[in-house]
């Protein structure tokens, strides 16, 4: 029982941590490119901004789904059968 709890806690940390790495790299790359692009062509800024937010949401989504699942593991643990 304790083993399972420990492993689930580790797994939750890994899900959030690894997901965060990916999402942060993605957001960072995209944000950098956006700034770069709008420095080159400021007249495209508004158009690009909409697209950037759309993509930010898409990048964020996988991470946030992971956070949700990790939180569920942590608080409503399906692996430990509560009597």
């Amino acid at each position: 029982m304790e083993n399972v709890l420990g492993f689930v806690a580790l797994a939750s940390g890994l899900i959030i941590g690894l997901g965060a790495i990916g999402a942060c790299i993605g957001i960072g790359l995209m944000g950098g490119k956006f700034i770069e692009a709008s420095a080159r062509q400021p007249e495209l800024m508004n158009e690009l901004q909409t697209k950037m937010f759309l993509l930010a949401g898409l990048i964020d989504a996988a991470f946030l789904i992971g956070v949700g699942i990790a939180m569920m593991f942590a608080f409503a643990n399906p692996f430990v059968l509560t009597p």
């Binding site: 949401g57 898409l58 946030l64 789904i65 992971g66 949700g68 939180m71 608080f75 409503a76």
Partner: protein, 289 residues
């Protein structure tokens, strides 16, 4: 109530993650079509009717003179959606149906997501009081107020979009043309490639629909859980002693404020993404390979 010990953190979360459904207890199987989540149904249908009412009011009172604030807001919204639709769907006849659809989807999902910004315990407590007053056991008074944090609702929406996509596929390409495309895209017309093409198409449709629904669900579910954790931190204030009590309270207020402000961005963004993807998927149905 005061003499009873409060629920533990885990019990609190589990209680808040249980739907008010037709069985009156937590759902046991992962897939069970005999169970209806009454709370999700109530809030989603209620907010849907509210959306319709709101936009109807705006359309009724619209003047060609100087618009009021409400009319101006709705006009900006309609124009935004209409511009996005114009950029993605080039067939004017479909746009007449799809652009209002996208607008409805946007406003409806935004309102459903916005239920997350209400205090987590407000509506469940009210329901507990009503349920208790009606003679029920308040410990079994389950209530979840965010319909989009229910996978059934989001997948229902995305399957609705899938059905519209299929309808446009048949309408634009003709049934024969669509079947031909199913078997000949993306790799080519060779008969040997037909099963692979068909498999790829099926996978594409399934992946689109599931990720469409899961994205919204995941965001809202995670957001709801974080709000619950923040509420728990505030709850721990009572149990804490010495300096930890006030610190927890300050932490609760700070974290709650920050997360709520960040969540305003998330709910709008997710509603917008759902709308955009709806448009993109329907736009794809218009393109022939």
């Amino acid at each position: 109530m005061a003499t009873e010990a409060g629920p533990t953190a885990s019990e609190y979360i589990v209680h808040h993650l249980t739907h008010l459904n037709t069985t009156g207890a937590a759902q046991k199987n992962i897939v069970d079509f005999g169970v209806f989540n009454l709370d999700s149904l109530f809030y989603s249908v209620g907010l849907g009717l509210f959306t319709v009412f709101l936009l109807y009011r705006a359309a009724q009172k619209a003047t060609s003179g100087v618009p009021g604030r409400f009319q101006a807001a709705v006009e900006i919204l309609v124009e935004m959606v209409s511009n996005q639709a114009k950029g993605i769907i080039h067939r004017e006849e479909s746009r007449r149906f799809v652009a209002p659809l996208a607008l409805t989807v946007f406003v409806w999902i935004f309102l459903m997501n916005a239920m997350d910004l209400l205090p987590v315990d407000l509506l469940p407590r009210i329901w507990e009081a009503i349920y208790g007053a009606a003679g029920g056991d308040p410990h079994h008074a389950y209530q979840r107020v965010v319909p989009t944090a229910d996978l059934n609702v989001t997948l229902g929406l995305s399957i609705g979009v899938l059905l519209i996509c299929l309808w446009y596929n048949v309408k634009i390409k003709g049934f024969g043309g669509w079947v031909h495309e199913l078997f000949s895209a993306p790799f080519g017309k060779h008969p040997l490639l037909a099963p692979i093409n068909f498999l790829m198409q099926i996978i594409e449709f399934a992946a689109k629909t599931i990720s469409h629904g899961m994205r919204l669900f995941g965001n809202m579910y995670a957001g709801e859980l974080v709000f619950m954790l923040i509420a728990l931190m505030g709850g721990a204030w009572v149990a804490g002693s010495g300096i930890s009590g006030p610190l927890l309270w300050i932490g609760h207020v700070l974290a709650g404020t920050i997360w709520a402000i960040f969540h305003i961005l998330i709910i709008t963004l997710q509603a917008f993404i759902f709308m955009m993807l709806t448009l993109v998927y329907i736009g794809q149905a218009h393109e022939s390979h």
